[in-house]
């Protein structure tokens, strides 16, 4: 309605939007371009935005760096196991949270909120001591358990929302038809919950794949480095020549989370927006 009257304002708006796009996008483009540059170009004192020639040497170097490859395998083990455990544990729990109104529900929801804002430094020292008692320091098992606990709050919150969307009448109908409780769950609830489980497991995978703090504290053996850990330790010994492989390794290790967000971004924004409009 005001577009015709405020053409100057609109032009300024486009300018501002362009500014934001540059601010948000430029560092990403730079990371991308650095990863394709040759060592000689990286050493240049007048760097250009686009590489002179697209070289895959950095990617080769990053992959051939035994550390990064092994770290990738470790990350895959940790994130994979965490995801499986999160799903196994949170499917029944979220069903109970969504369907049964008990005191447990209030406590669980309160804990989910608190755990989002609690400083992990207070937890990490005793956690370290506890895991040490069980011999789970410098062990991927220990890291998997911690990642499980760490991704559970959000996983539960997400999944119980999906459960709540399944009409309870469906289950009641199945029960009336003589299906046992277990059978109702396996043949009615579970299939309807699959999209929710898919979303939750992707989320758990990415959270564990990206996790850094606990890995830093719990893993000292370089053989057991996860990807973020390997990259962070790589930074510590970086020379000018290493910037390229570092950028390439970063890009490669981002692929799972980018795929996840490509799949989820529509759902993420629309879900948030829908919720706000309704509320």
């Amino acid at each position: 309605m005001t577009s015709r009257r405020f053409t100057l304002g609109r032009a300024l708006s486009y300018l501002a939007l362009a500014g934001y796009v540059v601010l948000l996008g430029f560092p990403l483009v730079w990371l991308l371009s650095t990863s394709f540059k040759t060592p000689r170009e990286l050493a240049s004192l007048t760097p250009s935005l686009l590489p002179d020639s697209f070289s895959l040497a950095n990617f080769r170097a990053a992959i051939e760096q035994q550390d990064l490859l092994r770290a990738g395998a470790n990350s895959l083990i940790v994130a994979g196991c965490t995801t499986v455990l999160v799903v196994l544990v949170s499917v029944p729990a979220s069903y109970a949270l969504a369907r049964f109104r008990s005191r447990l529900r209030g406590v669980a929801m309160g804990w989910i909120l608190v755990s989002q804002v609690f400083p992990i430094i207070l937890i990490v020292v005793p956690l370290f001591l506890i895991l040490k008692q069980f011999g789970l320091i410098d062990s991927l098992v220990g890291l998997i358990l911690v990642d499980l606990v760490w991704s559970l709050p959000f996983a539960l919150w997400m999944l119980q929302g999906y459960v709540a969307k399944i009409p309870a009448e469906l289950e009641e109908a199945a029960a009336t038809d003589g299906a046992s409780r277990l059978r109702t769950l396996t043949s009615i609830v579970f299939p309807l919950l699959l999209p929710g489980i898919a979303a939750t497991s992707m989320f758990a995978f990415v959270l564990s794949w990206n996790e850094f703090f606990f890995a830093l504290v719990l893993i000292q053996d370089p053989q057991l480095n996860t990807l973020p850990l390997a990259l962070a330790r790589f930074v510590g010994q970086e020379g000018q020549v290493q910037l390229g492989p570092l950028a390439a390794g970063s890009l490669l290790s981002m692929i799972p989370s980018l795929v996840f967000f490509a799949l989820m971004q529509r759902r993420l924004t629309s879900g948030l927006l829908a919720g706000a409009v309704k509320g």
Binding site: F26, V89, R99, S102, P119, L122, N210, S257
Partner: protein, 308 residues
């Protein structure tokens, strides 16, 4: 949170007999148990133990004895800790405020249905998907004193006349790190504010423009007040998240140069895992929680007063 409320299952009628409900609850407990055990063991128990540790002189080498408020007395005269605390406050406040202002601007633009807004929205989500370690690596490339584009662009524009070592210089390290913090957190804040903007009742704005209010007046007197609850919630969360930040700054500067970017979490981490003073580090954690809770209490109360 409003989304969560709308997802709640229908409340069972309160007139239901209590006996079957109790049985249902027991079934619920069994289902929750596999989640409850790891959480109790590795989240709630460590938390309680962490609070207890703060009152002991435990070190990496040996389990400590109960020392009462000894650690807190030590912290009182531990100048470096309070320096770090001050840096943490400067960092958290500036990140929260700048992030809010920039995110509000972007949210308003995205809400105007400009061409290209969809692209900007997807772009704004990418920092969200990136692990902090990689964001830190990316900005180390950006700030690189020899070949980083930050120096390149600023010297082309004539703002600086020699290359600055942004992350290594005493005076620029903290601002440079704050800038990265803002870049990282802006997307999430933008999405929340955008959701708030889209829930502003268009009829109210219509009425405003009928009454002769211009765009700016409508924004200031109609849009902002109705956004207030969203703004209070997201700035509170942003502040807490910023204060608890670790990975980003650990990789960017590791607290340097000369402790200029030593956030409290980094300080406590070093105290615990570099020097092995577990009890003292736990006490730092407790102090941090208490201060955050107090600050949030004051902030939320001031906001509530202002709203009335």
């Amino acid at each position: 949170m409003s989304q969560h409320a709308t997802l709640d299952p229908p409340v069972p009628a309160p007139t239901r007999p209590t006996a079957p409900r109790r049985r249902r609850d027991r079934g619920g407990t069994i289902l929750v148990l596999p989640a409850l055990i790891p959480v109790a063991l590795l989240s709630v128990w460590p938390l309680l133990q962490g609070i207890y540790l703060a009152f002991t002189d435990t070190t990496a080498g040996r389990p400590g004895a109960f020392v009462g408020l000894g650690n807190f007395a030590d912290l009182g005269s531990y100048g470096l800790f309070w320096d770090s605390f001050k840096i943490g406050l400067i960092w958290a406040v500036s990140v929260t405020v700048l992030q809010f202002l920039l995110a509000l601007g972007l949210a308003v633009l995205l809400n105007m249905r400009l061409r290209g807004a969809a692209f900007a929205r997807v772009l704004a989500l990418i920092p969200w998907a990136m692990p902090p370690v990689i964001i830190a690596i990316m900005w180390k490339l950006m700030y690189d004193p020899r070949s980083g584009p930050v120096n390149g662009i600023l010297s082309t524009l004539g703002i600086i006349d020699h290359n600055v070592n942004w992350l290594g210089d005493f005076s620029t390290a903290l601002p440079a790190v704050v800038f990265v913090g803002v870049w990282v957190g802006m997307p999430a804040t933008t999405v929340v504010l955008l959701a708030g903007l889209q829930s502003v009742d268009p009829a109210v704005l219509e009425a405003g423009s009928v009454d002769g209010a211009n765009t700016w007046q409508r924004f200031w007197h109609l849009v902002l007040p109705s956004l207030r609850p969203v703004i209070v919630a997201i700035t509170t969360l942003d502040f807490i998240w910023s204060f608890n930040e670790f990975g980003l700054v650990y990789v960017l500067t590791a607290g340097g140069p000369g402790g200029k970017t030593m956030l409290p979490m980094l300080f406590a981490y070093n105290e615990a895992f570099k020097y092995g003073n577990f009890g003292l580090a736990a006490a730092m954690g407790v102090v941090t929680v208490v201060v955050i809770v107090l600050l949030m209490f004051v902030y939320l109360r001031a906001q509530r007063r202002a709203a009335q």
